[in-house]
């Protein structure tokens, strides 16, 4: 049982030393030899498979839109990796767990996975509350944890800017956080609708909705100071009747309505809003709207601004130019009859981040790496994914470009799509918070 704790300072020191050693090893070899000598007996690559635990919602309202597509994608990726010979020669033995049941039971599960089952890594978590509770366990228990989908911007941030990184030595998030979507929406509106006067928001009344709106409102007020926020609505999560909210939005005169709603709530809201004529008077700007045109189908209205939680879209990067997206989309569609929604891309990022980090570490240390060495290799890692090139920052948080477009009906699909050629791509540096800064401080520092 590896219960040895290490704090941030000692970890940073070790990372600095070992990082220098790792990168220099190809040139000088001295550090490499020392490390190899001290741990020679443990360095051979085990014959046993890698135990990979995957945790995402397999039941409940968050399973359909996120958990199940994520889990599907993990399965496809693990199969593909095993077919190619595994990770540094070790096959993946993947086991899926349900994220339902609340944060307490997830903390218990994570403890069990690390302490009793001795998994090599946990890839998981859609709920931000779960991520916040579980990532600290990585250093406490010495287990590698890659959060793959949860969105809260504060997960890897500390109380005050600037802060030193990383917050967790063995904890990572292999996707960017919710700020990228909301900042990208604000930038898109600035670029395409600079004359907009009235905006409104409808967001679910819990941390996700509140944080998403807070970032969007801050960003849009910086970018377009003349914009007036005419209504902010906070429906309860899993609301079944949005009539009151829709009438309220209609009466507010808002031209653009921001929303970070997800899952069945988005489908319910969209259908009721179609019935009540909202889309004839206002345009939605949906921070995580990517899955819903496909979910709702041909009824989904045109000209709605949709963000993709990065550049996660089955048509982007264009499949003829980026074969990795073509293959991923084809594999997913063949297995599950749908185009992969963004959580499926997030799952790809998590499992391949682990693969690339392990293989990088194996190549650098000349044998099977420790979890710390894998973490060091993952920090600053860049690799190709179906959505382009993903980079994991020194703060252990991934950085992504963002695709924002407007829905359009075309003959070749039975739901409205975003045409990549008519969409906007915001490069990572325009939408991702710089390492060591808090997102709100970064936005506040923008020149108006």
């Amino acid at each position: 049982m590896d219960e040895k704790r290490f704090n941030r300072r000692s970890l940073l020191k070790q990372m600095g030393l070992a990082g220098a050693g790792l990168t220099a090893s190809g040139l000088a070899g001295a550090t490499y030899k020392v490390r190899k000598a001290t741990a020679a007996e443990n360095r051979s690559i085990p014959k046993t498979p890698l135990k990979v635990a995957v945790v995402s919602f397999l039941s409940g309202p968050a399973s359909g839109p996120f958990g199940i597509p994520g889990n599907n994608s993990f399965k496809i990726c693990a199969e593909e990796i095993n077919k190619q010979g595994g990770i540094a020669g070790r096959k993946i033995e993947m086991k899926s767990y349900d994220e339902a049941g609340g944060t307490d039971s997830q903390v218990k599960l994570a403890r069990k996975l690390i302490m009793d089952d001795k998994v090599d890594i946990i890839l998981g978590y859609i709920s931000s509350a779960d991520c916040k509770a579980i990532l600290p366990l990585s250093d406490e228990l010495g287990g590698l944890i890659f959060a793959y989908d949860c969105g809260t911007h504060v997960l890897m941030e500390k109380e005050k800017s600037p802060y030193d990184v990383p917050k967790y030595g063995l904890g990572f998030r292999t996707a960017a956080h919710l700020a990228i979507d909301n900042i990208a929406l604000a930038r898109y509106i600035q670029k395409h609708y600079p004359d907009v006067k009235k905006v409104a928001g409808i967001n679910q009344d819990y941390a996700w909705g509140r944080d998403s709106w807070m970032i969007f409102e801050r960003a849009i007020k910086k970018l377009l100071p003349h914009v007036e926020v005419v209504k902010t609505l906070w429906p309860q999560i899993y609301t079944k009747d949005y009539t009151a909210h829709i009438s309220s939005l209609l009466s507010s005169g808002a031209e653009i309505v921001h929303s970070s709603m997800w899952g069945g709530d988005t489908v319910t809201f969209t259908k009721q809003a179609i019935g009540m004529g909202l889309f004839k008077k206002a345009r939605m700007a949906m921070s995580r709207g990517e899955p819903y045109p496909q979910e709702v189908g041909e009824d989904f209205p045109e000209n709605q601004i949709i963000c993709c939680a990065g550049t996660h879209y089955f048509l982007y990067p264009p499949q003829d130019k980026w074969p990795l997206n073509k293959k991923f989309v084809a594999d997913y569609h063949k297995a599950y009859g749908k185009y992969p929604p963004y959580p499926a891309y997030h799952a790809y990022q998590a499992i391949y981040a682990y693969k690339h980090a392990v293989e990088k570490a194996v190549s650098l240390v000349g044998g099977w790496p420790t979890k710390k060495e894998i973490a060091m290799a993952a920090s600053g890692l860049s690799f190709e994914t179906p959505s382009g090139i993903l980079t994991i920052g020194k703060d252990h948080n991934a950085r992504e470009d963002v695709l924002v477009g407007e829905t359009k009906k075309v003959k070749s699909f039975d739901f409205p799509i975003l045409e990549p050629e008519n969409s906007s791509i915001f490069p990572a540096h325009e939408v991702n918070t710089p390492v060591g800064l808090r997102t709100v401080d970064w936005i506040d520092s923008w020149e108006a």
């Binding site: 309202p61 399973s63 009539t243 019935g275 009540m276």
Partner: protein, 292 residues
């Protein structure tokens, strides 16, 4: 101001669902004295049955026909579940204290939720064909979906039908007699056991209808019955236990408070409802139409 009429209409729409859900809860509470926490789970059964039938089994058939089929099946299956529930584990609880009833009906709620998960899996079921195909009409300058009006009419008609049943038929009079004085009703020769089962099945069927009726506007998901249970409970409390008039007025208060609350005080959408309930209970602790 031009939207006030629409706000009222939205409030009525919300009222209709809360009313329909609270009717069943109210009957079971009034006749049997059982506070049925599993009411939300019976609502969920109605929702899943309707979503499953409308969304997949009957897909492609005439919309009104599949809607009618879905609603009837939901009432029937939820009612049958209620019947089984009453016979199996509610019956031994009649002479126990409230704590036992709460425990057993809470347990029943979890069991039914588990059953739903076993049968339909953890996924959401969509069945919006009736809502979409009925389209929208223009009312006082606003576009309004026809299905909402259909749901309102059906809910209030059900309430009216129930009122007729309880006040004009022999069966209803006997049910009311039980709710007023169980011992006396029994002494008069009313077979309480049989009526308990009937009342429970009726209440369960009404919960099933409410769950099924909302399905064309929203997917069926696990836990769908929780929120309606809480709101129906508020209605029963502020309207007065076992009162049909109270249920209607309580639902109206809940529905309109929500509609105007969202429009004018969106920050306190949910607390506002509880605030109104608290004020009513402070002023009239027995509820608007409850007896002391």
């Amino acid at each position: 101001m031009e939207y006030v009429l629409i706000y009222i209409l939205n409030g009525l729409y919300f009222t209709s669902f809360v009313f329909l859900t609270s009717l069943g809860l109210n009957i079971i509470l009034g006749v049997m004295g059982i506070l049925n926490l599993a009411h939300g789970a019976l609502y969920a059964i109605g929702a899943f049955v309707a979503a499953w039938l409308i969304g997949s089994m009957f897909a492609g058939m005439s919309v009104l026909l599949i809607l009618a089929g879905g609603l009837v099946a939901a009432i029937g299956i939820a009612g049958a579940c209620g019947l089984l529930m009453e016979i199996s584990f509610i019956r031994p609880m009649y002479n126990r204290t409230l704590e036992y009833q709460l425990l057993i009906t809470f347990g029943a709620m979890l069991a039914v939720e588990g059953l739903i998960k076993m049968i339909w899996g953890g996924q959401s079921y969509y069945a919006s064909a009736p809502f979409v195909s009925m389209g929208s009409i223009e009312i006082v300058g606003s576009v309004y979906p026809v299905y909402f009006i259909f749901a309102m009419v059906l809910s209030f008609a059900t309430g009216f039908g129930l009122w007729l049943l309880l006040s004009k038929t022999r069966l209803g009079i006997m049910l009311r007699a039980i709710s007023m004085d169980r011992e006396m009703a029994q002494a008069m020769g009313i077979r309480i056991k049989w009526f308990n089962t009937l009342a429970f099945a009726l209440g369960a069927g009404l919960a099933g209808l409410a769950g099924a009726l909302i399905i064309p506007t929203t997917p069926a998901t696990l836990g769908i019955g929780m929120d309606p249970l809480i709101r129906a409970f508020i209605v029963v409390v502020i309207g007065g236990l076992g009162s049909l008039r109270g249920a209607l007025l309580g639902s109206l208060i809940v529905g309109e408070t929500r509609s105007f609350g969202v429009a004018y005080f969106p920050e306190i959408e949910l607390p506002l409802l509880f605030l109104v309930a608290v004020v009513i209970l402070v002023v009239k602790p027995e509820g608007l139409f409850g007896s002391k």
